[in-house]
Amino acid sequence: MKYVKTFAASAIIVATAFTSSVFAGTLENVKKKGYVQCGVSTGLPGFSYTDDSGTWKGLDVDVCRAVAAAVLGDASKVKYTPLTAKERFTAVQSGEVDILSRNTTWTLTRDSSLGLNFAGVNYYDGQGFLVQKKLGVKSAKELDGASVCIQAGTTTELNLSDYFTANGMKYTPITYDKSDETVKGFDAGRCDVLTSDQSQLYALRIQMSNPEGAVVLPEVISKEPLGPVVRQGDDEWFNVVKWSLFAMLEAEDLGISSANADAKKTGTNPNDLRFLGVGSKMGELLNIPNDWAYNIVKQVGNYGEAFDRNVGKDSPLKIARGINALWKDGGFQYAPPVR
């Protein structure tokens, strides 16, 4: 009992000595622990959701799976953390997740003052409005005085306020924490309008009690480039995530898919061979295995396959490629060359 105080004091000193600020890179950590910790949404059809057997699916989920395939060789080595719009940035800033792949818009504030880096754009989107058909509203300019359901802590809130101020209209914001709560509020009639990214509107409309009774207005009031997010100060990991996304785009550009990847590997086209890691050391430059791109395409597919499967023609959402098509098909998706 006499020495309790001295013991406590010395314990504090010893503990202080051991906690040095060693900033081990995320890439090393991921290789050591053997999986990628991926931050996703709490359930958004098409982007990150669980199916009836509890498996995570979606366009954002596929980005994490691609990174796992590139670094660890196995796309299933991912653990998912569902995050609301309010918690997502704190989770990635503190290191709780390695990547945030949660339909997050790339903005200046987020790129600078939050200590984060955006590793690319996996979906070009815009903000739109969903209204009940029975209101008879044909355009967003007729929404003066409406009450609007929104998700808290998103660029949606800010864009909404700017749009209504710019057009001299008034509105009442009703903010919820999660996107399915906004749907419930809209369904129950608490608000006239539901606003979110257009892709989310199509996804959320499916969850309603009467999907045919709601209509998406034609106006798109903002640019919403959605992409994966990592921490600043970790360039090695940033490069890996960036090039995993580019690999999916480049694969579609070269015409390589999960079906023909094996055939292309034994083919003769030098672009294909260099991309798939045959006789090239692209992987080593990123500090990952040389067959990183092959693993991505074989296990996750190229961008077109992921798009069709999750949000496009093979999914219930049926969103057209539109501006998310490749550059040579008239869209915005363009990957720098893998060489």
Partner: protein, 396 residues
């Protein structure tokens, strides 16, 4: 014969390393240094790491434009106001719902607690069922139930339920006429203040008279007359300077009038019902703690149940009731942060939710939120402890 005590036989002052006073000061200083050193290390380590990661720190964000709207605000708030103002909007909303909750929960809790002890078997059982049901269901579930049950059963604005064509109830809220005060109204308020002060003096004077001569005085009705009668008189004399702004249906929603949003109604209702169940049990414990001899003596003096409770039992029971009651008030205030579940714009939803996410400065915002709740709780405790000290039994 007086003997002086020989001081040379008593032990002298011990050496300073054995002196209890010196040792206590030494170890307390060491502990203080340890604690503050630890806190300083934590703070500087956090700031260091945040600077390394490029996360901005400091309170400069308080002046930036907020850029988002808030559903309900007791002060004027537009999108072009600063983040600092969102703090005050959230704070006022939290205080509003906590205040309403505390007042109504106390009233309901006292009534139900006394009912639980009623001699009427049915009433006592109903109160017991109420207490057991609402104490045992988690508060978040109750809030969600009231919110979605309230929402689903109310009609849309075009088909509102209207009372006297001035009160409208629909899924967007309860719309009541808003009082518009014109210039002569301050006189009414002055007379209201005079009425209240007059009532206090009447009560003091009646008490003195009771102690001196034993004659009771109808204090309640006199006070009521003063507090209500004087302002009404002033109101009529100045020509009724009060008009009402009626809510009217325009386009999508009602404009004008005072809207009470369903989020506030659901949150207030569920907080009140939940906390009232706990307060009822505390009241019951307090009343049971008063020895039964008191009730018997009061009955022997000819007092009926009502006056017995009011004059004999409750004043003594209050000594036991007040400390746990303070805890329940603090619980209610902290539970109001569950407002984020239903979209009520309280401090946590607006400041530690939207503003935190838009600025990314989690550490500063969470620390300030914790400081606010700590201050509110300490203030409530402080006020209740003053009352506690006044009624404490002073043992001889």
């Amino acid at each position: 014969m007086s003997n002086k005590i020989n001081n040379s036989d008593s032990p002298g002052k011990p050496p300073f390393w054995n002196d209890p006073a010196v040792r206590s000061i030494f170890f307390q200083t060491l502990l203080l240094i340890g604690v503050f050193g630890f806190l300083y290390y934590i703070a500087s380590n956090t700031l260091d790491n945040m600077a390394k990661r490029g996360i901005s720190t400091g309170f400069a964000f308080l002046d930036y434009k907020a850029g988002f709207g808030i559903l309900m605000s007791l002060i004027d708030f537009t999108e072009s106001d600063s983040y600092g103002k969102t703090f005050f909007v959230g704070l006022l909303n939290t205080l509003l719902v906590s205040g309403i909750g505390i007042v109504f929960a106390t009233i309901m809790g006292f009534i139900i607690g006394v009912t639980r002890l009623s001699k009427n078997w049915l009433l006592a059982r109903i109160a017991a069922v109420y207490i057991e049901t609402f104490r045992n269901i988690p508060l978040l579930l109750q809030i969600l139930f009231w919110y979605f049950a309230v929402l689903r059963s109310l009609p849309s604005p075009r088909q509102s339920w209207s009372f006297f064509d001035s009160f409208f109830l629909n899924v967007r809220g309860l719309y009541i006429p808003k009082p518009v005060f014109e210039s002569g109204f301050s006189l009414t308020l002055i007379f209201l203040a005079i009425g209240i002060i007059g009532a206090i003096f009447v009560k003091k004077w009646a008490r003195k008279r009771l102690d001196a001569t034993g004659q009771p005085f109808p204090v309640f009705y006199t006070s009521l007359g003063l507090i209500l009668g004087l302002p009404v008189l002033a109101f009529l004399v100045t020509g009724a300077p009060l008009t009402w702004e009626m809510p009217a249906l325009t386009g999508f929603n009602f404009t004008g009038g005072l809207p009470i949003i369903p989020e506030l109604m659901a949150l207030g209702l569920s907080l009140t019902i939940y906390t009232a169940a706990f307060i009822a049990e505390i009241v019951r414990a307090g009343i049971l703690s008063v020895s039964h001899g008191q009730t018997e003596a009061a009955h022997a003096l000819g007092l009926k149940t009502g006056p017995t409770l009011q004059l004999v039992i409750i004043p003594q029971a209050l000594r036991v009731i007040i400390p746990p009651l303070t805890s329940q008030y603090l619980n209610l205030t902290k539970n109001s942060s569950l407002a984020t579940a239903v979209g009520y714009p309280d401090l946590v939803a607006v400041w530690a939710g939207t503003t935190l996410n838009q600025t990314g400065q989690a550490v500063e915002i969470i620390l300030t939120t914790m400081a606010v709740y700590l201050t509110i709780s300490l203030s409530i405790s402080f006020v209740m402890n003053i009352y506690n000290k006044r009624v404490a039994l002073i043992e001889r």
